[in-house]
Amino acid sequence: MEKLPYERPYIKRLTPGAMNKFGSHSGAQPFKHIDGVQVTNLIAAYGSPLFVLSETQIRRNYRSAYRAFSTRYPKVQFAWSYKTNYLNAVCQIFHSEGSWAEVVSGFEYRKALGNGVAGNKIIFNGPSKSKEDLMLAIENDSLIHIDHLEELNLLITLSENLTDKPRVAIRVNMDTGIFPAWDRFGFNYENGEAWNALTKVVASGKLRLTGLHCHIGTYIQSTSAFGIAATKLADLALRCKTVLDQTIEYLDLGGGFPSMNTLKGAYLPGTDTLPSIDDFAEEICNKLINSDFAPNELPLLILESGRALIDDAGYLLGTVLANKRLADGKRATVVDFGVNILFTSFWYDHQISPAQDFSPHTENMAIYGPLCMNIDVIRENINLPLLNPGDHLVVHKVGAYNMTQWMQFITFRPAVVLIDERQNIHLIKAAETLDYIEENENVPGHLKAK
């Protein structure tokens, strides 16, 4: 006789309380496939934990965001924010869609060159550019976005004997009505610092002022902040034209658009509260088109969106290791992925789904990672069905920042696979090994194991 399916016994106290005006919670759903590929097969082939990226979703995000801007403004260019996810396969998807590269270090700059991006399509941002980095960027005719006066002075010095002037922009920070104002990067608009820097660039006679750049923050939940930024950059560009006789060829509004993840402490899920990319495009493009630029002199609009284009294309698959009952009676589940590889669990209440069928009973639990560290908490509270050791879980919307900010700490970093548009699976980064981690270590002779 075939045995009945087993589920561990569980009782839940019924607590009558106030009605919930948002309706009953629909509960988790099993999430068994990613782009038609079975989760269990992915784990069987590549191990657990495992990052999975969907090429289909990345391209869909890019095209939808580009359409949002290009249908509202005549000249639009996207530049892929390398720091968000600089796995070469990911960068190549964005470049194949038409994205330039936006980099913030010599390391990222060289990665972009390695990915075959033409030098004049690399935007070089950030507060730390060495003399060698700048020389390389000058030789490649890249767009250098100046962050501080030291960098400006160094650039002027490096350009002394050059025949072709390096193309530069300055990064402008400003009050856009949101907190915190990112005033640590670039030159301030309100106190005149940005204007002084612009006059200095022009007065040097050594640099070609090409654009203006700002990046007002991250995970910005208000469209009006971008409207203010667009207005202020347009104002600065028009003053450059009238006062300095310099035509600003592009305005780079940076990134900072949110993904649909739910921030910790948020009352409602991100999907219910955040503006869409179309809302941001509407605000930015409206402000630029209604500014005082002549219609045939509208500058190119550059956007450096990262998170919004890739977060929901990334999944983290993992496995339940153990169940515990905490001292206060609350359930805790230990899983094989921790904050070392899921950095964003410090910011978000990530959605987590079981990858197999389950009964309708759910239990409130904490999800802990495998690290022997008290801070390794993936979710402090989440309602999930009764999980057993060996069950698989899928964490959603993890494509941004996790594969660049992950730490090699206590254990190895896992593999990353890409599911292409034909449902083929490609290993785009292998899991770490002990040999790889120790490759550049050196033990002095007298300390070597005998």
Binding site: K3, L4, P9, L14
Partner: protein
């Protein structure tokens, strides 16, 4: 390990403690076990019956049984087993 005598249980997993007014809902396995406990079946017999009928290993069942008893204690549904010291 005995469940309190006055606890009311239903076949679909509803549990009511008239002494405290607390009510609980349990899953199918909880209903089966509660019913057996209420009928005075001892732990070894309940476990043997589950192992016979359900797809679960001895180790897993033992592990879950410990958690089950904690849940019952937490819910105040178990008879107090006092040690009188005699």
């Amino acid at each position: 390990m005995k469940i309190k005598k006055n606890i009311a249980t239903s076949e679909n997993g509803f549990v009511f403690n008239p002494a405290t007014g607390d009510s609980f809902s349990g899953n199918a396995m909880a209903s089966v076990i509660l019913l057996a406990m209420k009928n005075g079946v001892n732990t070894a017999e309940i476990k043997a019956d589950i192992l016979k009928k359900y797809d679960v290993s001895v180790a897993q069942l033992d592990r879950d049984w410990e958690d089950w008893i904690i849940q019952l204690k937490e819910a105040n549904l178990l008879e107090l087993e006092l040690n009188h010291g005699n």
